[in-house]
């Protein structure tokens, strides 16, 4: 299998040679020729101005009764009953898909004592909640949760299943996809229903340098994990009505070979990095570890999280839990503020999904300025304190008011 060149359209311009990451294309007889190293990544298809390159397609099969699968499911993630925000975001995305297909939107809740969580899910748009409760399903366990979800899917047959691309979702959903023998697309940032009624799943690839749209034509459910902070979270409506349907799996499904001996809370920052609206990151430009205080102050002021580059983590200035980039965390906040960060590609791949990127660096040629929305060429030791001061001034009166309300005696009148 390899990319297909249309001999009629190819003009042997060589653009595709330039972009092939595995060097699988050569020009021969005034035609691009693809060899067997082709991985079907599709980069050449995008770059061809003459629409001369195509990818082979999967055979469409009718072996399965695809029509019997109905409805959109969202697998709700929770920690001791507290629903993860990504699950609400998925209900927002799932609602759009359900309305387009004119089908029901359901949420799946697996654990114990989850009545409260179930009503939260209904209030955020679920028409139905499949509730599986058993003391043995707490705390979360990859194997038992995968078994239970597999049984539920086989019993109720949804056409689309969405889960958060969190550490938990990315760990146990792939096992479910294999168990129910269907396709799964990881870490999606866009979902839509095509004219053919299929789910078109768009995700970043090659470290976010390209986007790929993926379908699962012959199997059901069509499964995707979706990146947190990408889909819009719907409002809560306490009056909304939904059905809570209990499901009892076979007892052996709840058994797990994997035992969770203990769960230890170590740090809050990793979770905060993935979920914060604002991430302020410090790099080597801070010069000494003590200067991270400034980054922390700004992050605190903006209710944001603190990020760090690999080099400062390697230096031991910050723990690895703060690292953003290829071997650290991928973040996509509303605002990413990089201070003294040079912009190595290994760092950029971890943050280029951010809505707005601002960089402060005194070197106007730093590569970070290639990927920004707003660039500030300045000494960060001048800029950051001035920015902090300005934000505080700008908040002015309301800030004093809120402090008085919170009972800070300094501002009592």
């Amino acid at each position: 299998m390899k990319a297909i060149i249309d001999g009629e359209k190819c003009v042997a311009c060589g653009e595709c040679l330039e972009v092939c990451p595995v060097d699988a294309i050569e020009l021969e007889d005034d035609l691009a020729q693809v060899d067997d190293t082709c991985t079907l990544c599709g980069l050449c298809v995008e770059v061809c101005d003459y629409e001369a390159i195509g990818l082979p397609e999967l055979r469409r099969e009718d072996t399965e009764d695809l029509e019997s699968y109905k409805g959109i499911w969202v697998v709700a993630e929770h920690h001791n009953g507290e629903v993860h925000s990504v699950s609400f975001e998925l209900l927002g995305a799932g609602r759009n898909l359900a309305d387009k297909l004119e089908v029901e939107l359901a949420a799946v809740l697996i654990g114990d004592q989850l009545e409260q969580a179930a009503s939260q899910l209904v209030g955020h748009g679920a028409d139905r909640v499949y509730l599986v409760e058993d003391p043995a399903l707490m705390p979360f366990n990859d194997e038992s949760h995968a078994n239970v979800l597999t049984e539920l899917i086989q019993s109720k047959k949804p056409e689309i299943l969405l889960a958060g691309a969190t550490a938990t979702g990315r760990s146990f959903i792939p096992r479910v996809a294999v168990a129910v023998e269907t396709g799964l697309t990881a870490d999606c940032t866009g979902l839509d229903i095509g004219e053919d009624g299929l789910l078109y799943q768009t995700r970043p690839a090659f470290g976010g340098n390209v986007m790929a749209t993926i379908i699962c034509p012959n199997r059901r459910p069509q499964m995707a994990t979706v990146r947190p902070m990408v889909m819009r979270r719907p409002g809560f409506d306490g009056q909304r009505q939904g059905v809570v349907e209990r499901f009892t799996p076979r007892p052996e499904a709840i058994d797990s070979r994997v035992q969770v001996l203990k769960t230890v809370a170590e740090h809050q920052e990793t979770a905060r990095l993935a979920e914060a609206d604002v991430v302020v990151t410090g790099g080597r430009g801070l010069q000494v570890p003590e200067n991270f205080k400034m980054i922390e102050d700004l992050a605190l002021l903006l209710d944001g999280a603190v990020g760090a580059t690999r080099s400062v983590v390697d230096e031991g200035w910050m723990p690895h839990s703060h690292q953003v980039g290829q071997t650290g965390k991928t973040v996509s906040p509303k605002l990413y503020l990089a201070c003294g960060v040079s912009g190595a590609i290994q760092h950029v791949v971890g943050m280029q999904g951010s809505e707005i990127i601002v960089a402060v660096n005194k070197d106007p040629h730093a590569p970070i300025f290639d990927v920004i929305n707003y660039g500030v060429v300045a000494d960060l030791f001048e800029f950051v304190p001035a920015f902090i001061k300005k934000i505080k001034e700008d908040r002015g009166a309301p800030k004093l008011h809120s402090r008085r309300m919170s009972g800070n005696p300094k501002f009592e009148v």
């Binding site: 299998m1 092939c20 991985t39 599709g42 396709g183 470290g207 790929a212 769960t263 106007p364 700008d394």
Partner: protein, 263 residues
């Protein structure tokens, strides 16, 4: 103790990027590297072998030149390497990849422990490790930062979570994916480097694994890429100017316009 490490040869992501000025895809040079996360999987396997004895086999699926990636791991002291290479494997999604690897592991068996990196940097799916465990019907855990054997037949792992870590225990054979906290990869040794150059690396195709051509590669996949495109470019880049005070003021106004929470 037989440990199998699954690795992947990937294009260096540095080689695929968007030119910020023209907003088109550019690639500089062709360089294939061992997926950086997989070095930690190799190190994890060598650490377990060093402590408990046994043999480490590294496995990869890829084009013939992926042999190079295997030789790099042999230079670190890996005992054996196996290449899965077949024209029919091209275009495999994570389902077809994990099925192919699982069949190979069964053929290499008995295998006590399979170790993978947490994800590959070209696809970033993190699905092959858990998928392998499902195809092999073995217990598994992900994001492990420490591995330990208990009573010789149980694996204990510290698994990094968003909030801290979990202590996990499961019976062998099992599958784990590891993170970089497992330990920095060791340097190649001279003796191993010599051996790595000469050692024979068996190459297995679909038929050797008892798989039909329609069970592997694109035709054995459930998902299909229908479009690849450049992300919406950040080509509205704006450099602020003026004094520090002026830039502070401009930035604050721009971020307020963008409705950044807290401003």
């Amino acid at each position: 103790m037989h440990i199998v490490v699954c690795i992947k040869q990937v294009p260096d992501t540095k080689n695929v990027r968007i030119d910020p000025d023209t907003c088109t895809l550019v690639r500089q040079g062709v360089e294939s590297i061992v997926n950086p996360h997989d070095w930690y999987a190799v190190e994890a396997a060598l650490l377990v072998r060093d402590q408990y004895g046994g043999k480490v086999t590294v496995l990869t699926m890829g084009p013939p030149q992926a042999e190079e990636a295997l030789r790099e791991t042999l230079a670190l002291g890996v005992d054996e390497a196996v290449l899965l290479s077949d024209r029919a494997f091209a275009g495999a999604d994570t389902w077809a990849t994990s099925l192919t690897l699982a069949r190979a592991i069964t053929k290499l068996g008995p295998v006590d422990l399979v170790i993978c990196g947490k994800q590959a940097i070209d696809g970033d799916t993190a699905q092959v490790g858990p998928g392998l465990a499902a195809h092999l019907d073995q217990p598994y855990t992900t994001y492990a930062r420490r591995l330990e054997l208990v009573d010789g037949c149980q694996l204990r792992a510290e698994r990094v979570t968003d909030a801290g870590y979990e202590l996990i225990q499961m019976p062998l054979p099992a599958v784990v994916t590891v993170v970089r906290e497992i330990g920095d990869p060791r340097m190649p040794g001279l003796k191993h480097k010599m051996r790595a150059r000469k050692q024979e690396i068996p190459v297995l195709g679909a038929a050797d694994l008892g798989l039909k051509p329609e069970e592997v590669g694109l035709q054995g996949s459930y998902t299909q890429v229908v479009r690849v495109f450049s992300p919406p470019p950040r080509c509205d880049r704006k450099m602020l100017n003026g004094s520090v005070e002026e830039q502070v003021e401009q930035l604050l106004n721009l971020l307020k316009e963008a409705k950044i929470p807290g401003l």
